[in-house]
């Protein structure tokens, strides 16, 4: 079976967090781009876990080709990482649209999957840690006519043609089955992604990702017409007005806090 894993490069969310908390997150002159060059780029965490989901299927005995695909300007680093983890094919797709939205990204991924002759399973992270949107997998599913199973904590083969997926829902785990081909999105509950071995890292250094451009794919004008345009980005203000409780011992602090909460009717 062919598994296609879609990955996105993002700014390190922890670094963004730290800059934002320190009030030092910089937005460029265009009013929308985070410009700090000190923030590293890395593979979106949920996408790395989507690769892990594919590797777990292989570990469990599935005979599969794992193809990792990324749409982006300079995907070489993350594709090498994917290769070191065990991907059989790594493909970078360059977008002809300067600011591709989810629709354009999905169109490019779909066109590539079609050019491969289809996929049995498309794995994506549940959302990207930059825009938090998580809509690309649903768009891929609609375009390819595949069912979309979201927020998975485990993916197994039910038989040779169907998947058994555990979903993390607000009401607890839900177990579902769907015939392949299907799109599945992976959540962090799948577990930490593995580290590549030193030997595989070395080997991956020599791997050259296949680069695909729009000319290699059959795409019409509508497929490349963004629907959602980012026009502005800003850092929301958090007004802090914390009342610090003072006291000499933990017991005193606790008594004073509880008394204060009762006084303010936060507690009965």
């Amino acid at each position: 079976m062919r598994i296609v894993v879609c990955v996105k490069e993002v700014l390190d969310p922890d670094a963004v967090n730290n800059y934002a908390l320190a009030g030092r997150l910089e937005i460029g002159d265009d009013g929308k781009t985070l410009t700090q060059t000190t923030i590293p780029q890395l593979m979106n965490g949920f996408d790395e876990q989507a690769i892990e989901a594919a590797l777990l299927l292989r570990d469990a005995g599935a005979e599969c080709t794992i193809c990792v695909v990324s749409v982006g300007a300079d995907p070489a680093n993350q594709l090498r990482h994917a290769s070191a983890l065990g991907a059989d094919e790594v493909v970078g797709i360059s977008s002809p649209v300067a600011e591709p939205d989810a629709h354009v990204v999905a169109s490019l991924l779909v066109a590539h999957i079609r050019s491969l002759g289809g996929a049995d399973l498309v794995l994506c992270g549940r959302q990207a840690s930059d825009d938090d949107q998580g809509v690309v997998p649903a768009l891929i599913g609609e375009a390819l006519g595949m069912p979309v199973v979201t927020v998975a904590s485990s993916v197994e083969l039910a038989d040779t043609s169907a998947l058994r997926v555990t979903r993390v829902t607000p009401d607890g785990d839900e177990i579902v089955e769907a015939a392949m081909p299907a799109v599945v999105t992976i959540s962090n509950e799948i577990g930490d992604p593995r580290y590549p071995t030193a030997a595989n890292k070395l080997k991956a250094r020599r791997v050259k990702p296949t680069l695909v451009g729009p000319d290699d794919l059959s795409l019409d004008a509508d497929a490349l017409a963004p629907r959602v345009l980012l026009t502005q980005q800003f850092v929301p203000t958090v007004q802090g007005n914390c009342e610090f409780i003072s006291g000499d011992t933990p017991a005193e602090l606790a008594d004073r806090l509880v008394a204060r909460l009762r006084e303010d009717k936060v507690l009965p």
Binding site: V16, R126, V135, V148, D173, E177, G240
Partner: protein, 326 residues
Amino acid sequence: MTTTAIVVCTWSGARGEVLEEAEAALTLGRKVSVALGGELQWLVVGAMPEGGAEIAQRQGVAVLENIEDAKLAGGQADAFVEALAQYCAERSPRLVLFSQGFDTRLVAPRLAGRLGSGVVVNAVDIEAAADSPLKVTASAYGGDTRVVYELAGAEPCIVSLLANAVLPESVEGAASPSVRNVAVDLSSVEERIRVVEAARTEGPRLEDAEIIVSGGRGLSSPDNYKLVEQLAEALGGLPGASRPLVDEGWVDSSRQVGLTGKITRPGLYVAAGISGASQHMAGCGAAKAIVAINTDPDAAIFRYARYGIVGDCLAILPELIRAAKK
């Protein structure tokens, strides 16, 4: 001339949204429909919620619509997407606004894909003006930033409103809405995803809790999580956690509060040993009062907290348990 329809879509049933959230979406929908001189419609998929007509009236809904079909009862997406696609084809609304729940995150973008529309989830506001594209403000980077998107593409625009982003406001003296049943033909829909084992909520849900006590990495060992559970119990609340505790396997993922966990809105949220990362605050920032206990006086959590204790939560939690029981 046809009227511009602004449709707020909510659904009842298995993982149905909270009614208060539906009302928040109606308030935002009304703002858009006023700006565009349109008509606010509320489309309820599944059984009409109790008190729905009163909510519709005080939100200034012109038309209260209802789709009911046995195929929508299963809670899977194929029937929803098909029903909404048929509805949109017939009514051509300008905007379909969802109040965001777990299933919306799948249904909204699938509907957009089906219709060729633009879609934005995690929205916190919409600006509308005649003859210009809708501008949707959404949360990004877990809440570290806000982004503004302009929506092009086929209509309707599809937007999913983040929980707790808008406060419901009612209008005085609105007429009672007309009621319309919407017929859809779902006979050809065969749900492609089959539920083998349904989710079972065990006990009360964090989303509904009035008091939540959450622990973070500052607890330093899984054993200490029992302090969080004991304080929650002493206060009559529920225990929650930050994501690292779930990732480490200390607690079940149903306890996770945050962007990719539960979105809660308790009266009191106690955060012990939690740094206050935006992705965590996305799930508890709407609490009426946050109490933070952290050894680091500069921890971000104190910016969101109403009450703070700078100190070791392992020493303070046992004392709080004692004090709460008094």
